[in-house]
Symmetry: C2
């Protein structure tokens, strides 16, 4: 069991990482404050871990709100079900909401906690690798609108995060790999030493080795915490965490959010961003090839869907990160050093889109 | 025109108070930042002031979202209409939402702004006296749930407040009087000198005299800002602003939120709280009588609906402010000095409920 302390503005909390945490009162009851809990989870995760989590919270009043599974349920209508559960069980301001599930559950439970009675506490118990390395840090919560993803939400920091690596053994292998895309991202943007380590330990990670996963999660969260800590409200530096995401969002939007997992789209997006970085002379082609090789070994896709260069350009422009008509992108100024830029030549971007999307 | 600067945690904003502000670019465009605005208003206020407000914002992109009028529409479903308007017009993070209306519009528009893209700015243009003296300060936003009022929301401070006293001339006189209940409340809890002033200027206030209203609003907001400034997240002192509200909420709940206006219920609640303060020897009976006389002159009700003492006791206990089973009440330790207490003798409360509700 490893712990990582995260400072988030005026608050701080601890991420506990390791095997066999759910169900262990030393990990759960000891780290989850309060007495009254609403566990927000979904139909896939509840049968696997809800009773186990209850066992980790002896003596607490634990109610559950089991939501349907899937990104398409990350809506205001589903959020209303969480509020209804909170009021039906008469939870008051001392309630602590527990998010048990992946990123969708975490985002909704966290947003419900942010809003209920203008803010109650919540704890994340992420059960996917993506949620463990991404949603554990940053305090972003929210739901989707018909017009786009995460358009409604709040910044709300958890009271604690409990990342049980055992949950990754029940995760579909494809989702584990998609989570690894984000782990690899942290190496690319900030830490070549971590990238070296991932290359060495990739087989152990894919085999759900608890020690390897614990270290990968801890190092990923530490990088994210360092970046977010310097920029809690996303004004500048934090944008480097979106490496691969602007291209990735365009790919997800074009393919309807069903064909590819988020991490898979991010993997493809990182290759686009690396390609552009090479074309403008910021990154060695060998470094881009190294990223591609690692993603391939991790079982992630490396060939972009042919959605058309014009459509890709249009979708890039729709992304939130567009300021004054220019698409801001996260590029690599060498491996391990991400920069945010809208000053690249437009024809270099055009060439990337032609090569990868046409 | 008067201005009042309000410090709210790390932010500060200005409340501008006076006649003929809506429609005047010196009051509107000069004080409302941004270029893209969604005006959230309702079917009653829009025909009166929407075009006027547009005239006060020359050169801006102004879209409107006109909601149905009434507390019963202060729901998540109505909030979704505001989000739909924001996305339909492609507002981004630079958008500034403008709330044009009473407390319901202000609460919903402010909450929509708090959540849209995890937080955009908003400006309050309150058009009722209640909203001008209450919602202008404190940053509370939110909507109701079927289980209760304001159960979902956020603390979100406005960028500016523009309180045009001319709007009070189009307000139904009964609503003006209900707003005066809150003005009188500020005198009772904090400032006997203000209470003296209200007694002197009551006829001018009821006649919508701009100078009198401007001073009443300014002094009320200054008191609220001082109290809230010392306790932004409502841990202690801020509770004195609820003088009359715990009894008032019970009365509103028992009468279905339709019979009495909020300010009328608060007027009745203040008399209950003053009565209890007298019975436990904290307040002179003459002081309680003085409050009653002023409320009567203001045309506010002073006879509590006979909902039954047992029902009243039950509803008091349901209020949010109950800690560990004891009903915390705001009492007067002399006129102009409010205290929060759950240490009063239960039989004194019982006597008040018998006298006023049985």
């Amino acid at each position: 069991m490893r712990t990582l302390d995260v400072e988030a503005g005026p608050t701080r909390y601890t991420i506990t990482i390791g095997p066999a945490l759910i169900g262990d009162p030393h990990a759960c009851a000891a780290r989850i404050p309060g007495r009254d809990h609403l566990v927000v989870t979904n139909e896939t995760v509840a049968p696997l871990y809800l009773d186990k989590l209850r066992a980790g919270l002896p003596g607490r009043r634990v109610q559950a709100c089991v939501l349907p599974d899937g990104e398409r349920f990350k809506t205001l209508a589903t959020l209303e079900r969480v509020f209804d559960a909170l009021t039906a069980h008469r939870f008051n301001r001392d309630a602590v909401v527990i998010a048990l599930g992946g990123g969708v559950v975490g985002d909704m439970a966290g947003f419900a906690a942010a809003c209920y009675q203008r803010g109650v506490g919540y704890v994340q118990v992420p059960t996917t690798l993506l949620a463990q390395v991404d949603s554990s840090v940053g305090g972003k919560t929210g739901v989707n609108l018909p017009a786009g993803k995460n358009l409604v939400g709040a910044f709300h920091q958890p009271l604690a995060v409990i990342a049980d690596t055992d949950t990754l053994a029940t995760l579909p292998p494809r989702e584990l790999r998609a989570g690894l895309a984000e782990v690899i991202k942290y190496g690319c943007i900030c830490d070549v030493g971590f990238l070296d380590w991932i290359e060495t330990r990739l087989e152990a990670l894919l085999a759900c080795d608890a020690a390897a996963l614990t270290e990968a999660i801890e190092r990923s969260c530490a990088i994210k915490a360092r970046v977010v800590g310097e920029d809690e409200r996303e004004h500048g530096l934090r944008a480097i965490l979106n490496f691969g995401h602007t291209f990735g969002h365009a790919i997800e939007a074009a393919t309807g959010y069903e064909t590819l997992l988020h991490g898979e789209a991010v993997a493809l997006g990182m290759l686009c961003a690396a390609d552009l970085s090479c074309r403008i002379g910021m990154l060695e082609p060998a470094a881009a090839a190294r990223i591609g090789a690692l993603l391939t070994r991790a079982g992630l896709p490396t060939v972009t869907p042919r959605i058309g260069a014009a459509r890709a350009a249009e979708l890039l422009r729709l992304d939130k990160k567009v300021l004054a008509g220019k698409v801001r992108l996260v590029l690599l100024d060498g491996l391990g050093r991400a920069v945010v830029s809208d000053a690249y030549p437009q024809d270099a971007l055009g060439a990337v889109l032609e090569e990868r999307f046409a």
